[in-house]
Symmetry: C2
Subunit: 279 residues, 2 copies
């Protein structure tokens, strides 16, 4: 596959080693995943995961990731630095930072992350959050492409089941739950970076809860993975069912909780985020 044929998602998370030391990479923001005033938060989270996945000293696969959006990311180049802070027999703890140079050429941190990777062993397994009974994706309409400037929405096929983005901002909201089918619009197969990005694909719950289009942005997201490489390979480009709901809205911040199931009903990832919002 040539560079031109490479999928937009793979272009967006592409990292080139700087050659200085293991774990230091260069990348650049892509218009394809732009979200109003900066990159879509999910693609930034995917880049932080990718920095660990690329690392020559990595042990095992992602178990947990937390990404903190510390400052705005400008269009253009960035550096990512992934460090294995502790390596155990079957698990590893990572610290990741994204930087961009300011006007004076000084590297400024705009994003931080921690990851846990681990070798899994087969054990007793169970889910206590069954997939909601919903109509199959083929029976539902695809959500129309979002407003101009929100390019990343074109990269994702979404088929909402319930909890649509309000059509009228009239303050009539009564709940904060959305159910929707989603998959990559170009049918790119699922892997850890794409699953990381997908865990951030729910619009801010305050919009639904209030039916009011207030400014809002994620400050921190945590995603737990409940799948291994074989499980992801089985899903390929299949649909995921996503559920998101707000929990507490309080004085400028709220949290939203999310689950992502395979079409077969396996709970693949659980995710939570804290979101800034303006009154």
């Amino acid at each position: 596959m040539t560079q031109q044929e490479q999928h937009a998602f793979d272009q967006a998370i592409a990292l080139i080693p700087t050659g200085q030391e293991a774990g230091r990479y260069r990348g650049a923001t892509r218009r394809d995943y732009w979200n109003m005033v900066g990159p879509f938060g999910g693609i930034t989270a995917a880049i932080m995961a990718q920095a660990v996945l690329c690392h020559p000293q990595r042990l095992g696969l992602p178990i947990a990731i937390t990404v903190n959006y510390a400052a705005a990311i400008s269009a253009g180049p960035f550096e990512v630095h992934a460090t294995p802070v502790r390596t155990n027999r079957s698990s590893q703890h990572w610290s990741v930072q994204m930087t961009q140079n300011d006007a004076q050429g000084t590297a400024q941190i705009n994003t931080t992350a921690t990851l846990v990777t681990a070798l899994r062993r087969p054990t007793w397994s169970e889910s206590d959050v069954p997939m909601p009974a919903v109509p199959r994706p083929e029976t539902l309409r695809t959500m129309p492409i979002g407003p101009a400037g929100v390019d990343w929405l074109q990269r994702c096929e979404m088929r909402p089941v319930s909890g649509f983005i309000p059509k009228v901002w009239d303050g009539s909201g009564t709940h904060s739950e959305t159910l929707l089918w989603l998959r990559d619009a170009m049918l790119r197969p699922l892997d850890f970076p794409l699953l990381t990005a997908m865990s951030d694909m729910f619009y801010p719950r305050v919009w639904l809860r209030r039916a009011k289009n207030v400014p809002a942005g994620t400050v921190s997201i945590t995603t737990y993975f409940h799948v291994d490489a074989e499980g992801l390979a089985q899903i390929g480009p299949g649909y995921l069912l996503g559920r998101a709901q707000g929990q507490r809205f309080y004085n400028g911040f709220f949290d939203q909780t999310a689950q992502l199931w395979s079409e077969g009903g396996q709970l693949l990832a659980t995710s939570n985020q804290m979101v800034y919002f303006k009154a």
Copy 2:
């Protein structure tokens, strides 16, 4: 108040500046909060929060904390280093590390954390997770003190409503939800470090789900705060209602989600953790 009269919790989270640079502290583990093979994870999380709360450059109050348990903590002294990695107009992003010296005297990281602090503004507020209807704490029995060696359980008064620790490990578990009232056993008033510790006070969901006492330990916990200093002061030493439930158990790891309400029904904190377990 003299050192001897100081509350066990305050002794356990006490940090003394090393004097080298802002944000570097010394502390020591306390038998009072011991949990079988190391300190109770909640007290370690509280220490990481305390390192930020003590910092002279801190802006605002905790919004989100993620603590990663990278390696075992030995009984004895430790160092904590809190760094403000990015300071914005009304929010601040922190990185925190706990280290202990190994046999060669080299500092080794055993715990990492990220925190977001922020100045809150009064806004529209709402909760979409109402407190479950449960009997008042005074009508319920206090949980008996746990097994020898688990000293931290003596520091916390727990009055379970449902989802007790199984009395018989016979594999008969059918669900993973616990509801319980809890407060500091010595009636220490609630603050951010204590609320951080309390968000980790639920025993591993796999014990309840399987009615099987398998080895288990938190690898990463994230807590979101939905309260400010005035709200905490109003609660004082009051009871909190805690709810915890497992979501997905898969090949050696599971996640559990938790909520903590004030007795008055305000959702104060939401928390999630990823836990290692042995088949």
